[in-house]
């Protein structure tokens, strides 16, 4: 087999893995959009916030330490204990649920019935707010996150592919774990949505708010639930990305990467988010591999958006989105 083709295969595999990570972020968007029609720009910052909280809790950092020191003097930084990652994850989930409740009570409740674009702007405001709070709480320096996920080259795949092609593929263990986790998460979400009472209520709200209200479903509760689930998805995405590249500000920018994924897949479709993520992941890696060197590299910055843009011109609702019907 020619060498170029083997390289391309490796790039494709890596692209698929990266696509899974994009899809993880996109999932959170789809959940909230389906249930409440809110396009939640803050999803990426929620992932950042969740990851920072997790690191902070694990290391026993004092929240707002820097601020307290600045106001009252003193040098508090840590409580002096460390918490095992499993318990820390549970605590972080609790924090995300609390956050979901606060968002619902303080913000979204007051914006019911506003135009979608106003709601979108509100989530941008929320994103800025959360980012500031996260920095104030835990400090803005880059942190390493280690919850015990294996990292580095997968030797088994390396060996097997070396035996077949005479060239060992480089596949990161973390990416494999992320793929498995994403698969579990999606299965879990589908089961939750199909077979539990709350899940069915959630789908009912997604179908029609007023009809759901009239059969006695509490919109407030469902929205808190949806934001909590989105917070949980954000935490998973935050753990994966945080382990991969450190917990830092750029984590919140993956939300922007998730947008073209959503446009490709359609805002309302969970399978769409996954397929879109894979297409974008493979597409940008292959494009960078094939065309990147000719035009100066770093095409990953924009390829996804341009692809989505061209795609939308031909199919405005995305691959799996509901057909947009407009009435005058």
């Amino acid at each position: 087999m020619p060498e170029q083709l083997i390289f391309a295969m490796e790039v494709t595999l890596n692209g698929l893995m990266a696509g899974v990570l994009y899809a993880l972020v996109a999932l959170g968007f789809v959940l909230i959009y389906k249930a409440s029609g809110i396009f939640n720009y803050a999803q990426g910052v929620m992932a950042l916030f969740a990851a920072m909280t997790l690191v902070g809790i694990m290391n026993g950092q004092v929240p707002f330490a820097h601020l307290i020191n600045a106001i009252f003097g003193g040098h508090i930084t840590h409580f002096g204990w460390t918490i095992p990652s499993f318990i820390a994850i549970l605590l972080t989930v609790a924090v995300m649920v609390l956050l979901a409740w606060l968002v619902q009570v303080l913000v979204m409740k007051h914006l019911v019935g506003q135009e979608p674009i106003i709601l979108f702007m509100a989530t941008i405001g929320l994103a800025y707010f959360l980012e500031g709070v996260a920095d104030l709480m835990w400090g803005s320096e880059i942190k390493t996150l280690d919850v015990g996920i294996p990292q580095g080259i997968n030797l088994w795949i390396d060996e097997k592919t070396y035996n077949i092609f005479g060239y060992g593929f480089f596949i990161d263990n973390l990416d494999i774990v992320a793929t498995i986790v994403a698969a579990l998460l999606v299965t879990g979400l589908v089961i939750f949505a199909q077979y539990t009472k709350q899940g069915r209520a959630m789908r009912a709200v997604a179908d029609d708010h007023q009809a759901a209200l009239s059969v006695g479903i509490s919109l407030n509760f469902i929205w808190v639930l949806v934001w909590s689930v989105a917070g949980f998805v954000a935490l998973v995405a935050g753990i994966m990305w945080g382990t991969k590249s450190g917990v830092q500000f750029s984590l919140s920018l993956i939300a922007l990467k998730a947008l073209p994924v959503l446009m490709l897949g359609g805002f309302t479709s969970i399978p769409g988010a996954i397929v879109g993520g894979l297409i974008i992941g493979v597409g940008e890696k292959l494009f960078e591999f094939a065309i990147g060197p000719m035009v100066g590299g770093a095409t990953e910055n924009w390829f996804a958006y341009v692809l989505a843009l061209l795609f939308l011109v031909f199919r405005p609702q995305g691959l799996f989105g509901e057909k947009i019907i407009e009435r005058v």
């Binding site: 396009f39 820097h66 600045a70 941008i124 707010f129 590299g297 843009l309 939308l312």
Partner: protein, 358 residues
């Protein structure tokens, strides 16, 4: 008492359809112009010019441009940073290629070039609407920034990849480069802002503006009553791009002087200008000024309070700024979705009826 229409008789159609039909408004407008043109240039110093006045003037132009697109025509754009970069690089190429031509012409040409680019990226708006369009404009943002970073022709093959504004003058007065006097740079930006505001205000009052608003309110209905959506949307993109290009050109040439594209015209710039438009008020020229003033002043005020008065470290104040901006946006959307401009309108209405509340 003083804000009244009573006794202000209109005797011609011109009188009736002028921009400020109420006498008090008109005098206030002349007074603001007089202060801006005749007082501030004489009392200005470097700190005021660089920290407050220049960013205010330049962001106001950008906010007016974006307001035309988002507030009047309803096409949400997140590509403002990229379009400002087009203006900046256009003016840079023009300044270095034709040193003897006046800066006025360069800045206007940069606006024109940006308008063309903006129209090109606005073409998909004919098929794509709402959020999808907002995300599609991100393509412009990231692609343009990448382009200016990677293609050496745009930064004249300089080793650092930055662009630096060479010294240029208008009628013998230096307005770019490190030796420019603050009053001259201020005056240069002010002239552009005034012209842009007058053009924008009159465009939005006329046929063009009305077709934009028809498209914004409901595009299908507008199409049925005979508005050409292609023309309306693309003119909105063109006019908006022209203003944003001018502001980008001024931002680089007059205000910063040296620019690294990813830093100066990144996605954050797009959001900043969008926030100005939202906080100021969608669909209002005055709102663009108010929003720009608010978001330019906020960090300065916070810094004065936090760092100088309370003695906090600068990073805490920077984080607080994020928290406050975010909270304010949410607050405004909940309490007054139409922004500062609406508060101003309400205040004027109250003033007209004062001292009788009904």
């Amino acid at each position: 008492m003083f804000y009244r229409e009573a006794g202000d008789f209109k005797v011609s159609y011109q009188d009736d359809s002028q921009t400020f039909p109420i006498k008090f408004d008109r005098y206030r407008y002349y007074a603001v112009l007089a202060v801006a043109f005749l007082v501030i240039p004489f009392v200005i110093n470097d700190y005021w010019a660089n920290a407050i006045l220049l960013p205010f003037l330049i962001y106001s132009i950008a906010a007016i441009g974006l307001n035309i697109l988002v507030g009047y025509c309803g096409q949400v754009s997140l590509g403002t940073g990229g379009f400002m970069a087009v203006g900046a690089y256009a003016v840079y190429k023009l300044m270095t290629a034709f040193p003897e031509v006046s800066m006025f012409i360069h800045v206007l040409l940069a606006g024109g070039i940006t308008a063309l680019v903006c129209v090109a990226f606005g073409l998909p708006s004919l098929r794509i609407k709402g959020f999808y369009l907002a995300v599609a404009t991100l393509a412009a943002q990231f692609f343009l920034v990448w382009l200016f970073n990677r293609v050496p022709w745009f930064y004249n093959y300089s080793a650092s990849g930055q662009i630096n504004a060479p010294e240029r003058d208008v009628f013998g007065i230096v307005i770019t480069g490190p030796n420019a006097a603050s009053w001259a740079t201020y005056f240069f930006c002010l002239i552009f802002l005034t012209l842009c505001a007058i053009v924008a205000r009159n465009l939005t009052r006329g046929t063009t503006g009305r077709t934009w608003m028809a498209i914004r309110d409901m595009d299908i209905a507008a199409e049925i009553i005979g508005v050409n959506p292609l023309k309306a949307k693309l003119t909105a993109f063109a006019v908006s791009g022209f203003f944003i290009g001018i502001s980008g050109a001024l931002f680089f040439a007059v205000y910063l002087g040296a620019v690294e594209v990813g830093e100066a015209f990144g996605i954050n710039k797009s959001f900043l200008v969008l926030f100005m438009v939202i906080i100021g008020g969608l669909g209002s020229i005055f709102g663009s000024f108010a929003g720009a003033a608010f978001l330019v002043l906020l960090p300065v005020v916070l810094k004065v309070i936090g760092v100088d008065m309370m003695g906090w470290p600068t990073d805490i104040v920077a984080h607080f700024q994020l928290v406050i901006v975010g909270a304010l946006i949410v607050f405004f959307l909940i309490v007054e979705p139409h922004g500062l401009a609406q508060l101003w309108r309400v205040a004027k209405e109250k003033l007209r009826l004062w001292p009788f509340p009904h």
